[in-house]
Symmetry: none
Subunit: 200 residues, 4 copies
DNA sequence: AATGAATGAGATTTCATTCAT
DNA sequence: CATGAATGAAATCTCATTCAT
């Protein structure tokens, strides 16, 4: 019974987090009220506080919980591959798939978390670092087998790559899906791999 | 005298905007109070409302005003050059210079505006589009003279380029200047131009 | 069996009251939560409400229950004596003994009840009157046999005596036992008695 | 103008404190809301927070401010006298006058502060100690000139005296003025003095 | 009878904005 | 024009109490 109760608790937590994703995406963290989240999740205001310390904690928990899913999703998909070029292509593909499949969540990640990590007390975004490390791993591997330039600074490059991908995703969201992410993904992958030059 | 008064008004406006930059950088837009800004700017709370419609308008005006400066700075610096490769290198160089020279402002641009642009009512960030257009111009020019690949989608690529540069800048700010932006700039320019591959 | 159940019930009630004494002493009635009391008593939150109407009722019941014990203790100890002077001395002695033996309870009585009696709806503290009557009895008896001044207003004097004793006890508690209550008791008894005596 | 503004501020503070006295006396500190106080004082809710850090601070400030008045009143009245017996009589007289003249304030002092001093963080009631010291001074002076018993422990006795007086006052308030405080005062003074005298 | 998750009313507190001076 | 005291709406969070299990 304890196990059952435990799973009940997890379910309720998840239910609130789903509500929070929707509301934060729609209104932004600061304009969303706890009441909004409660209503969206179908619980009473006070119930939120049985599962989360406060509003900030709700955002952090949302992030941790979802990032966990995302990271393991990436890892599973990339584990099948060995070629760094394939890995990079698939990384971008998976990234854009995730964005397309859960625009609300993407919204929250891109907008709220970016900002919040600076202002939520004592929160230092380890999950995001793990995430960047996946890219770093791909780049380092690519360098080792000689596919990628030996003079690449993996630290800078992982950021460059992430920034490029993420911005394309963000603008796609902001434009309400005016262009094909699929296609954009291929284009991005190609450019990152080959650069801008025609004589390559 | 009217002109004098006008310039007085502009001066006061600028003074408030400087205060706002400092305070928003330090506390974030939502955690900063109008009183904070007033104190930092050395004016009374109510005075803010003689120059700006409300707190949101202050942020938007800050953006418009500062973006104006930045855009004209970019245009001046790029006007001297004709080679798209040089232009791209210099664009990155100037971008990082601006970041280094006014970290507080960069902070506000990167963190607050990114988020706010979505939630400030009726605000659609035309200045940011102008900004992206500078990059687009460089890419299109590069394509036209055959330096850049003909199959580059200038729309996607401008976003990719901006994202890459901007993220490197952001992480530099967040890391409190742990690496050299100068160097990172060269590395970023090289990679964007040549891509990741060693066989280029 | 009914009797057994009845005693079970009494036991559970007592258990909750003990928890309440501890928690109210530690945090004060208004800062203590029903959950705190439940945890301290080792029962569920809801269980409290099977034994008490509400939080106020818990405080009142605590008082009634404990006051009952205290009153009968006083009566037993005083019944053995006939001399009013002895009675007064023993009264003070017993009072201070009770304080020393259950500081938590004393705390609740002195701090919470004093305040609460004014604000708990419909509660008029008859037990406290009974308590004062014990002192009044001693004084009246003392007057009758001519030990105490004939002009003593027993009504005022009982209050005076109670106030004097009680304040010494309170300050002792607040000072965390900096002085000897034993000694203080003798001193207080001496001073009060000399004040009351007719042969002065 | 600064001085004028300053006095305006003091006036507003006093106005809020007066409101608080009334409301706390009527409902008790914990049952009174800040809204209640604001309404009673004729200001907006938020205004309270321009003058006091929070609700606790309002109670503490009320105490400090009023205690100041009371202490200086006592000192003035006692300064005229030299005989310790007279001083003690007048002390009681003044105490009861104050009680009669501001029953609401007395209520708050007797009920709320008694309790609160234990629970308001970091508040240690120095003013109350000053107050007890006045009594101690009288007792010590009385001992020195041989009016009071040499074996009196001034520390215990000041508490005894204060407790006796204060309790008589409290019961008078609780009884809604059923007896004459004037008369009670004389009776109390008589009994206490006879208890304290060396020639008994 | 006992539980403890859920409720939601209500309290404190903040702060953008106004307006009399 | 400038001020800054005052406002009061609105948000977060707490906790006594209920009720399905």
């Amino acid at each position: 019974m304890a196990a059952l109760k435990e799973s009940q608790k997890q379910k309720r937590r998840a239910q609130i987090i789903e509500g929070a994703v929707k509301v934060f995406a729609r209104k932004g963290f600061y304009h969303a009220t706890v009441k909004d989240v409660a209503r969206e999740a179908g619980v009473a205001d006070g119930t939120i506080y049985l599962y989360f310390k406060n509003k900030d904690d709700l955002l952090i928990s949302l992030f941790e919980c979802k990032m966990e899913d995302i990271l393991s999703h990436f890892r599973t998909r990339l584990a099948e591959l060995s070629d760094p070029l394939d890995k990079l292509r698939v990384f971008i593909e998976v990234y854009f798939e995730l964005i397309e499949n859960d625009i609300e969540l993407s919204d929250v990640f891109q907008v709220e978390l970016r900002q919040s990590s600076k202002f939520l007390k004592d929160y230092h975004n380890e999950k995001f670092q793990e995430y960047l490390e996946i890219i770093e791993g791909i780049i380092t591997a690519g360098k080792e087998i000689g596919f990628f330039r030996a003079d690449l600074d993996a630290n800078i490059t992982k950021i460059l790559v992430f920034g490029a991908i993420d911005e394309v995703a963000r603008q796609w969201i902001l434009s309400n899906g005016k262009y094909s992410l699929q296609q954009a993904g291929q284009s991005v992958a190609y450019t990152l791999i080959h650069g801008l030059l025609s004589t390559s």
